[in-house]
Amino acid sequence: MAKMKDAEIQAMIQDLPLPKNILKTMQADAVSVGVTEKEMQEIIDRVMVGYKLSQIEACDAAGVVAAQSIGEPGTQMTMRTFHYAGVAEINVTLGLPRLIEIVDARKIPSTPTMTIYLKNDSGLVDEDGKADYAFDRDKAQSVAWDIEATKIDHIASVTTDLAQMKIVINVNEKAMNKRHMVFMEIAEKFKEKIPDAMVEVSEENFQIDLTPKDQRYRDLLQLTKKINDITLKGIEDIKRVVLRKGSDTEEYVLYTEGSALKDIISIPGVDMTRTTTNNVSEIFSVFGIEAARNSIITEATNTLREQGLNVDIRHIMLVADLMTSDGEVKQIGRHGISGEKASVFARAAFEVTVNHLLDAGMRGNVDELQGVTENVIVGQPIKMGTGDIRLIARTIDSDNPNLVKSVEKKTVRTRSQKNAADKAELAGSVQVSKDDLISVETADEVDDDEEWDDNVSMDIEETVTEVVEEEPKKRRGRPPKAKAEDEE
């Protein structure tokens, strides 16, 4: 039998409902080995079976599995907050505190830091002045000075002269030139920022004298404080910049203490397409929700990996999807995911129990008992696994009006259930095979004023010949994110 051509293999597999990387591997392997059409068909069949087996089971508690998979390694993480990771001198929060920070969606992390990549448009590596920012140390350093906030004590000595009630600033010429600054600009900055003080500038001595308007000791001290707070050059929020060569490249990379993505965009020499920060909410406001999701995933995985813990990325992806599914970064907790559950019981079971019960009582809220937590509380079977399978029987025996009626009743009820469906519910889709028929509607599904007797139940077994699978997702109002997860 003739071996298949590459294009023929391509045509056979391109429309299969499989992830792209599996298709790629199949294509490459089939081409390198050389297969006949019959063999290829066999391969495809087996891959489809294998892929189906590797997918999550319908009604599986994906969220609980994710929570445990992150929670267990979490117990092994260090409680110690600070660490000097990778980059010397820059202090970053790691371990458990960092992980908590990420899932809490804090507006500002305790140690914000940016990784700034530099432009490399010319692509030259040699350092003869022609190389671009990324490979020229001097150019990279000048970008660093543009970013780092320069305060007066970086470039000058400040002395308070109590006898004459004035502050004397002696600018160090060397330090000033190193940072590409001009003396008169510094002097202007002082005049501009401190309008209520007398500023005397002596250009030849690089000296600035400041005298407070009122000759009071307190004013003098306040002035000293003010002077030290003024940012003369660079970006206010960035306290320090460290220049490093990348771990596996010769490229210079800037690491900062403090984060200000928006201000970085306008700095020449910065490669904005690769520059990032560890502040998720800042990424959200600058790059949008999808970038924020990616940031949550990378930050969480890196935190775990740094501690030597291997958590499957799918669990973290589920958490990140959950946190970002409403278009903004929400925390997993009282003010986010858990606090927005539809069920009063589910919220009360999490935190501030009394408040939730009291509020619900005052408003007269109704708990639809759709989720897992509330059903555990009231002692009913939970809607997970086999507990989530419901069937509608449609009889083709029209002589039995009883049965038909009960079916209609059911349909009406599910519609209202759909509306009240719990947003955060993580149940899987329902897939039922013919073998599962045992769990056909039981007595409690029938209209209350109709007696359910053995006759009717016998009728079911005899007359049900066609079982209709209810569209599960439509009924439950289940968010499609879990489905998207399946595909990945």
């Binding site: 992830p19 792209k20 990387n21 599996i22 790629k24 965009i265 904005m272 397409t273 690769r274 990032t276 990424i283 406001s285 600058v286 790059f287 949008g288 929700i289 999808e290 970038a291 990616n294 940031s295 990378t298 990325i313 799918r314 992806m317 999807d321 970002t324 599914s325 409403d326 278009g327 903004e328 569209e471 599960p472 997702k473 439509k474 109002g477 289940r478 968010p479 499609p480 994110k481 489905k483 998207a484 595909e487 990945e488």
Partner: protein
Amino acid sequence: MTFKLLDHESVPHHEIIEGEEVAVLLEKYAIDKEQLPKIRFDDPIVLEIGAKIGDVVKISRKSQTADESFYYRLVIDAVV
């Protein structure tokens, strides 16, 4: 040359999908439009591609597990 947010390496490709494509998508997952994940109308990327409230945005994520996966978000008003 101004910097485009979509050029950033952690921003996946976003595009607006319309009419037939939306119908096929909703049919595939058997859901209503409102059940899709959301994206805010003032999201920087939504502003960049010019999507309006009610539009469905298709996002082609670079996935570590599947190479490429598609995600869909409905553009909503910020006040939910």
